[in-house]
Subunit: 380 residues, 2 copies
């Protein structure tokens, strides 16, 4: 447990709630979930399931109809064949990651992942007594791993590599070429690639195919939380190579039993045209926000080298203003009423240089936040 850190953003959130309770207005740019409510047709589908009394456990791997629907989503969205039998519905992407690591990694083995990265990934590996090896990445590789880095950091006890594309906290995407190269390196070493695609529906520039288009032999994690705006429903999925599905099922039987039933019935409506139309509108809103916030932060003096193509995060180098992003974030919260996540939540690779800005609030509020930051920076 001592190796498992809390999210520092939670402390920040607690402080910002305290300030709000004391009457201060806070612009929230620290929150890692969409501000949008789950689309109406999805909520209506949940209500119908409740009326029909769908309150018992589903099979551990998920409702067969939902596994079919997710398979259909890969076909329609990406033109990729993913057999429903390879899809395991899980309680959030957290559940999917725990299954993937659980079936792939033994205690003492090493999982490579980018630093900065989503902190829970590291902690999941620790929970299983594996070693989460953070590979420092920076602007030179768009804050993503590369085949050269994998070669450099591979050791005899390395068994898996975890990528996130788009990434939290950086919003950057792994190109298909880079992905194909990394897949080859991992395969040559007899390891396994796990690709976290939970933000994959939220890419704003070029369209990028799923990693599943490259191979049936890798693991992909996805979720209804981000693109589908279903965070509170706790629903995700794992796509595994077919040989691993029985093991994943067995592990899931023991640690989850099954994903929430109502959430699964609701998610059946997530792929319907009327839901997709609403989600398309949300997607456009996120793009507009990014297109406002990215140049605005650059103009203020934050350094964001490459254009983050996805998710709803900007990872900004703030060394022009401070050598300690944590203290800076606390000061900005207190004096300017703007909440931002300090880099230290995302790893050990120069976190004091960085801040994560989330554009999970309206354009108006983002404008207000930028205006307050401008005033703060002028006066400090």
């Amino acid at each position: 447990m001592a190796d498992i850190e809390p999210f520092h953003v939670m402390d920040l959130l607690a402080r910002s709630r305290a300030l709000e309770a004391a009457g201060q207005d806070i612009v929230h740019m620290e929150i890692g979930e969409p501000d949008f409510v789950t689309p109406f047709p999805i909520r209506e589908a949940a209500k119908r399931a409740l009326d029909m009394g769908k309150t018992h456990y589903t099979p551990t791997t998920g409702l067969p109809a939902l596994r079919e629907a997710i398979s259909g989503f890969y076909q329609i969205e990406y033109g990729v064949n993913v057999a429903p039998e390879r899809i395991v519905v899980t309680p959030g992407a957290s559940g999917a990651l725990l299954l993937a690591l659980g079936v792939l990694v033994n205690p003492g083995e090493r999982v490579l992942m980018a630093d900065p990265g989503y902190p829970c990934n590291r902690h999941f590996a620790r929970l299983l007594e594996a070693e989460a090896a953070g590979v420092p990445v920076g602007p030179e590789s768009d804050y993503q791993l590369t085949s050269a880095l994998l070669e450099q950091y591979w050791t005899v006890n390395t068994t898996a590599v975890l990528l996130a594309s788009p990434s939290n906290p950086t919003g950057t995407v792994v190109s298909m070429d880079n992905l194909a190269d990394m897949r080859s390196v991992v395969a040559a070493h007899g390891g396994r690639l796990i690709v976290d695609e939970i933000y994959h529906g939220l890419i704003y520039d070029d369209t990028i195919n799923s990693a599943l288009s490259l191979s049936d032999e890798l693991f992909v994690i996805n979720s209804f939380s981000k693109y589908f705006c279903m965070t509170g429903w706790r629903l995700g999925w794992l796509v595994a190579p077919i040989d691993y599905v029985r093991e994943a099922d067995k592990l899931a039987q023991n640690i989850f039993l099954a994903a929430p039933t109502i959430s699964q019935y609701a998610a059946l409506a997530a792929f319907a045209p009327e839901s997709r139309e609403i989600l398309h509108g949300y997607h456009e809103a996120f793009r507009q926000r990014r297109d406002f916030l990215l140049p605005a932060l650059r103009e203020l003096g934050f350094d964001i080298p490459a254009t983050p193509a996805g998710a709803f995060y900007l990872y900004a180098d703030c060394t022009r203003f401070t050598s300690d992003s944590y203290t800076f974030a606390l000061d900005v919260l207190k004096k300017a009423g703007v909440a931002i996540t300090p880099g230290r939540d995302f790893g050990a690779n120069q976190p004091e240089r960085y801040l994560r800005f989330a554009y999970t609030t309206s354009l108006d509020r983002l404008e207000e936040g930028v205006a307050r930051l401008a005033t703060y920076l002028r006066s400090s």
Copy 2:
């Protein structure tokens, strides 16, 4: 992973579904969840939350109002003060157990638990690289641990004891005297007691207080699944000593984020009088079923020494008919169309002698099942 077994009952379930698909009628006495649909007022509360757009994450420890409501439940139901701050809402009891073991147990340490017992308990400990030490228990102690057994099995690396009262698969309850004795023994050794009370709402004879009435220093796991008939909602809770709550919160932040939001809003209505009235009716139905099934199985020749006071299970010694309960269960399924869980799902302590009968189907169907068993036993 190799140490983690699948539920054999799942294979049995798959076979019974195949037989049903081929047109055979199966009496299901293998299913570990209430047959009742979640009470109407709870489902309506979920629908109201959906209309109000309550689809975002809740705090990791749960909705404050739900923690308050659970605290109130302990006060009203048991006359016990449990501060809301000690209650962590979790994705099912599975989540609560993972948190309890996660904050208490280090790799290589030993957790004592009764054998027979719920198999996932063992597997959770294994997942954390701890040792799940099954202590063989039998009819002489109502299939429960005792202070003498704890003394006998305690070792230097033992750090925790997990009890279940009522127990799955045996339905037996730990008496308050036995519980108090065990608490003393565990405390004297500097260990911690975890009490699984997920079936505590389903006790049919004497009322028994929660283990929390004895001490603030033990861990209690509970769930909305069984008594509240909310299996598919994946909602449970952990009561921890106050000093452990921050650690549990930190671990939960990393591995779950939060329990399902809609389920939490629904559960707020679970304690309302109109829900409790419906649940009282379900409770009575379970009691009637037990009061039918227990003497009926004894009359057929199954040996069930003590009267199981709770849950919805009877653990029957079938050595009069077979020396291999697994083969027997398969044969009964095939020839008599009755599905029963073989003992091997519950541990290594003479599982071949035992079968678990679940009374999670109507009295009519239980009668039909018993009649079929009678015919089967006469003809074999």
